[in-house]
């Protein structure tokens, strides 16, 4: 049973990775999107570090790097969701459902594909951020925490997008996949720390689960871990929730035939 699951997962994962890495039109938007955001935020808004109360040792580049790292993780999952929707639209997924001995392995396979794709993006974004003057204050263990939290976000939003793709089975569901992700990301403290937000956006940011992740990643990069346990809790909770969502969508796709 486990072997069946593993075989299906690796086969789907390999196919997803192969498709993305052999098709520049699929690979480059996923790389360009976070880099453009990083350039626009870290370059255009760097004066925000002079706002009274803003004190972040890795600098404004580091501050924005953490957000862009998590944003690219989330959208890495969503972009892979587009591919799943395309597989359904072109009928490939139907053949996949027929041939897979353990169908939940299909979801795991897409998650593997999304993860490998994201690792490349994370490497590029990290390189660019270091080149742009980001100072890393955390130690090796802190950095492992930074990327582990990012991976949790990637898996969680892949599962979200996978659920949407399997339910709607059309690329036209793209806005349903990405709009909520976009909103939840931007209702977190994107430009300044949580303490400097005022009014309704502060209340939303406090209630937003992604705030815990962003704040934890920023604290780890700065070498002063804070709220890390809560961030892991949020990450695993999101994965559990969206895994149920994706599995239910898979059952619904099976039922449709």
């Amino acid at each position: 049973m486990i072997r069946d699951f593993r075989n299906v997962a690796f086969a789907v994962g390999w196919r997803t990775i192969h498709n993305v890495f052999h098709n520049p039109s699929l690979l480059f938007p996923g790389l360009a999107f976070p880099l453009i955001n990083f350039a626009a935020f870290a370059g255009g808004l760097s004066r925000l570090r002079h706002v009274p109360g803003f004190d972040y040792a890795p600098g404004y580049s580091g501050f924005q790097f953490c957000f862009v790292l998590l944003q690219s993780a989330a959208f890495g999952g969503v972009f892979t969701g587009f591919g799943i929707a395309r597989d359904f639209e072109y009928g490939f997924a139907r053949r996949l459902l027929l041939s897979a001995t353990r169908r939940s392995g299909i979801i795991a396979g897409y998650a593997i594909g999304a993860l490998v794709r994201y690792l490349l993006t994370a490497a590029v974004v990290t390189g660019v951020a270091i080149g742009a003057g980001m100072r890393i204050k955390g130690n090796g263990i802190d950095l492992v925490g930074v990327y582990t939290l990012a991976v949790l976000v990637n898996v969680a939003f892949l599962l979200w997008a996978c659920g949407v793709a399997m339910r709607f089975q059309s690329v036209q569901a793209g806005p349903i996949m990405q709009t909520p992700v976009f909103l939840i990301l931007f209702f977190a403290p994107v430009y300044v720390p949580l303490d400097l937000l005022r009014g309704w956006i502060h209340s939303l940011a406090v209630a937003n689960p992604l705030t815990r992740l962003i704040e934890a990643v920023r604290s780890l990069l700065a070498g002063h871990p804070a709220e890390v346990g809560a961030a892991y809790g949020v990450g695993f909770a999101l994965i559990a929730l969206f895994a149920l969502w994706a599995l239910a969508a898979l059952r619904s796709a099976e039922a449709r035939g």
Partner: protein
């Protein structure tokens, strides 16, 4: 002359009706920019604490952005509609008629202008709703609407050119991120003189979109700034002229009459 005007009228009417029949084309350019405005003005309010920032309310500063984002959507809508005409063979059938190419382009842009005006009225209404009163007064609001339409027509012409050049709605849609980069690398979130990174300030200085934003912004937070307005109108006109010229050349190939 009269026949030409009649042709423009019929294409324009079709373009406007078509936009009105696609609620997504009208609603998305209104909702998306206002959503971003809400997020950015909340998140970046702290920027007004920086010495030299031109206003103490970031929402007033950022209100210019929806006008540009709305224009970007206008580009996509105009281009996608025309590309669909090409893909479905409508343009080929049209080339069998005495329809002039210029009438087709101008008529198409009339639809863009109509949607842009509706959007701009909505954005101005939003400004008053959040208690931002344009410093230039009621006359300034009229100029603001005119500038918004001029910018949208300029961008719309780019969309028309892309549609004629590629004949593909997908290719026109693919243009959106490219144009969005121009918006991101501009004085959208910060005045150019306060941008700290030299390379980014240089990019914002050479980016014409900065001057379009500043033209709109000047009417909201400054009052009457002849230089900012002149530059914004001139750049819109230049963009329109270039895109029309390119469109005319592309149309000549696309509507080859045999």
């Amino acid at each position: 002359m009269r026949s030409g005007l009649s042709q423009v009228y019929h294409v324009a009417r079709r373009s406007v009706v078509r936009q009105a029949r696609q609620p997504a084309n009208v609603v998305a350019p209104v909702i998306f920019p206002l959503g971003l405005l809400a997020v950015n003005s909340g998140g970046l309010q702290a920027a007004t604490l920086i010495s030299g920032f031109p206003t103490n309310r970031f929402v007033a500063f950022a209100l210019a952005i929806p006008f540009l984002q709305g224009a970007l959507f206008a580009t996509m809508n105009a281009g996608t509609d025309l590309a669909r005409d090409i893909q479905t063979g409508f343009l080929n059938r049209l080339s069998l008629t005495p329809m002039r190419g210029a009438a087709l382009i101008v008529g198409q842009l009339a639809g863009v202008a109509a949607v842009a005006l509706v959007q701009a009225v909505f954005y101005v209404g939003t400004a008053y709703a959040v208690d931002v009163h344009p410093e230039s007064g009621p006359a300034g609001v009229l100029v603001l609407l005119a500038l918004a339409v001029a910018i949208a027509i300029g961008f719309g012409a780019v969309g028309v050119f892309m549609a004629l050049r590629t004949g593909s709605g997908e290719a026109v849609q693919g243009l959106f991120p490219v144009l969005f980069v121009f918006l991101l690398v501009s004085s959208m979130n910060f005045p150019r003189n306060l941008i700290e990174a030299d390379w980014f300030r240089w990019l914002a200085n050479v980016n014409p979109v900065s001057y379009l934003i500043e033209g709109v912004r000047s009417l909201i937070i400054e009052g009457w700034n002849g230089e900012a307005l002149g530059l914004a109108f001139a750049i819109s006109a230049g963009l329109l002229a270039l895109a029309l010229l390119a469109s005319a050349l592309a149309l000549r190939q696309r509507m080859t009459r045999t």
